[in-house]
């Protein structure tokens, strides 16, 4: 069925919209990176690749890049694990499963400010719930400052962000699982396959395409998480959670170096784009077009 004009008309509005709201500002940011603009609203002169030289030689930039990598991987690992377990549970039939499936998403529909405030309160040493519980259970013997060291702050943030996102991922996985025909499972059961074998032979392979796309999009979204980190630790303590988005924001609005911030953003974009391009190429090859 070949009606290119109609097809084009269908696609054009969305594409034009995205071009205007995303593509154009990106170009604009790239141009900004070639100047030396400081505060927002001031103008600068063209300085070519000077900013790039400065940033690429800057230790803070590389530290943030490393933190971003770690952030993405840690989130992917924790979220995939939690989501998979949750999806498997919700895939079963038991009384109240409908309710469970509907309400598991609770953590995702709440504004991030609220999520941050909730956990800041829960983790605090005066009035928070987590420390007393851990003390009661004997897991710790002194109250812990969850945001006291760079490492623990990082881990705690990964937990909070995963807590927020894993139900959504779980539902996406559930959607994928529900498209697996149940006769496959029946046949396998008749053949005597146990639960574990059913998982590894049927669920996992058939879920793989969905999982792959989720991983790719999830990585991109994870990388971009800004408000949770900023609102909670502002990139601290001692820069331990200063991922690239945080660094960009700080450079633009706290150090008042718009052009430098744009430079970091362009570099980060290059990184993400290469990842996305490679990943989608892999997707195409493994036949995602179902």
């Amino acid at each position: 069925m070949n009606r290119p004009l109609i097809a084009f008309a269908f696609v054009a509005p969305a594409l034009v919209f995205l071009a205007a709201t995303l593509a154009w500002p990106l170009v604009s940011a790239f141009l900004l990176s070639l100047q030396n603009v400081r505060s927002v609203g001031t103008t600068g002169t063209w300085v070519g690749l000077e900013n790039y030289q400065y940033i690429l030689a800057n230790a803070a930039f590389w530290r943030s890049t490393g933190l971003s990598f770690g952030w993405v991987i840690a989130n992917a690992a924790l979220q995939t694990l939690l989501a998979l377990l949750a999806a498997l549970i919700l895939h079963q039939k038991f009384p109240g499963v409908r309710v469970a499936r509907t309400w598991i998403i609770l953590t995702w529909i709440v504004p991030t400010v609220v999520v941050v405030m909730i956990w800041r309160w829960l983790f605090s040493t005066s009035g928070g719930m987590i420390n007393p519980i851990l003390l009661q259970l004997g897991i710790i013997d002194r109250p812990v400052g969850f945001f006291a060291t760079p490492e623990s702050a990082f881990a705690t943030l990964v937990f909070i962000n995963s807590w927020r996102w894993f139900p959504f991922i779980a539902l996406m996985m559930l959607a994928g699982m529900s498209r697996i025909p149940s006769d496959l499972y029946e046949a396998a059961r008749i053949d005597g396959a146990g639960a574990f074998k059913r998982f590894t032979r049927i669920t996992w392979p058939l879920l793989a395409p969905t999982l792959t796309v989720l991983l790719i999009v999830g990585t991109l979204l994870s990388f971009n998480v800004f408000d949770v980190i900023w609102l909670m630790t502002q990139g601290g303590p001692a820069g331990g959670t200063r991922t690239l988005p945080v660094l960009i924001y700080e450079t633009a609005f706290r150090s008042y170096r718009m052009s430098e911030a744009a430079t970091i953003a362009v570099l980060a974009t290059a990184l993400l784009m290469s990842f996305a391009v490679l990943a989608t190429r892999y997707l195409a090859r493994s036949g995602d077009e179902r």
């Binding site: 009606r3 097809a7 696609v11 500002p25 504004p111 400010v113 529900s178 999009v217 408000d227």
Partner: protein, 275 residues
């Protein structure tokens, strides 16, 4: 389909952990919103409230514009969801049912929309909106929200369209239907649950958006809930009771929404298309 006992126990245990992980924090917040101030900051927190007061909610509603923020959030989110659908549905249909040159490449590019830090878009977009007189308007927020929800929405819709048997579509076309008619009369009704799911996705992403809303909106009357909420967090002191009440109210509307149409989100995802 009987299940061996140990699996039942494992399932129950898993469910319990899940319920605790998700439910407990919210329980503490909502129950805390009704506690007296002294009990909230007590060194040893209480699981079941020992006191009961409505003072935090009273203070919140009388002294701040929380209801205005609520209305703004609803307005922006509903509009964002609608616009996202209007743009995403035809685009998705075109990508996955119609053939045209460059289809593959364009589809790949769509997902690339997430491949950059959204912060970087903030300032150029602000400058553009300023020139267009869109700063401090809710429309500006809608535009931003749609931009961020659209790519994923297109991708989500794809699988729903893909699961409709070709025969139905062929039949409609053979009957002489133009693609637009086929889309409106046949495809949309068949994928209604899936569309509802995408609408809810767009609604929620708009509802929770904070960064752009905080910079684009200058006046109190146009604020959305996330920004309004961060505002009542006192600058030099923290009124935990007020915050917990605010958090409870920020959660309430989406919870109500989900109570009403939440199951469509799930069935939309899991069933996608009416068979």
């Amino acid at each position: 389909m009987r299940r061996p006992l140990r699996w039942s126990i494992a399932l129950a245990a898993g469910l319990l952990v899940l319920a605790a992980l998700i439910g407990l924090p919210f329980w503490w917040v909502v129950s805390g919103a009704f506690k007296a101030p002294q009990e909230i900051i007590a060194r040893v927190p209480t699981f079941f409230p020992q006191s009961f007061t409505l003072e935090h909610f009273e203070k919140l509603l009388s002294a701040s514009d929380y209801l205005t923020y609520l209305v703004n959030s609803v307005f922006v989110s509903v509009l964002s969801a609608l616009v996202t659908l209007v743009l995403a549905i035809p685009a998705s249909y075109a990508f996955f049912r119609l053939t045209f040159r460059g289809r593959e490449t364009l589809y790949r590019i769509i997902l690339l929309a997430y491949a950059f830090p959204s912060i970087v878009v903030l300032i150029p977009l602000f400058a553009t909106f300023a020139r267009l007189g869109l700063v401090d308007t809710r429309l500006a927020l809608v535009l931003v929200n749609v931009a961020f929800a659209l790519p994923f929405a297109i991708w989500m819709l794809r699988s729903f369209f893909a699961s409709i048997p070709r025969e139905i579509e062929e039949a409609a076309r053979l009957d002489g239907g133009a693609p637009l008619t086929v889309l409106l009369r046949i495809m949309i009704p068949l994928t209604a649950p899936g569309i509802a799911a995408v609408a809810i996705f767009a609604f929620v992403t708009s509802w929770t958006e904070y960064v752009f809303a905080s910079v684009m909106i200058l006046s109190d009357a146009k604020r959305t809930i996330p920004v309004g909420f961060s505002g009542i967090i006192g600058q030099y002191q923290v009124d935990w009771g007020l915050l917990l009440a605010g958090a409870s109210l920020a959660i309430l509307p989406v919870v109500l929404l989900f109570a009403l149409i939440g199951r469509w989100f799930v069935t939309g995802l899991t069933e996608g298309a009416v068979k």
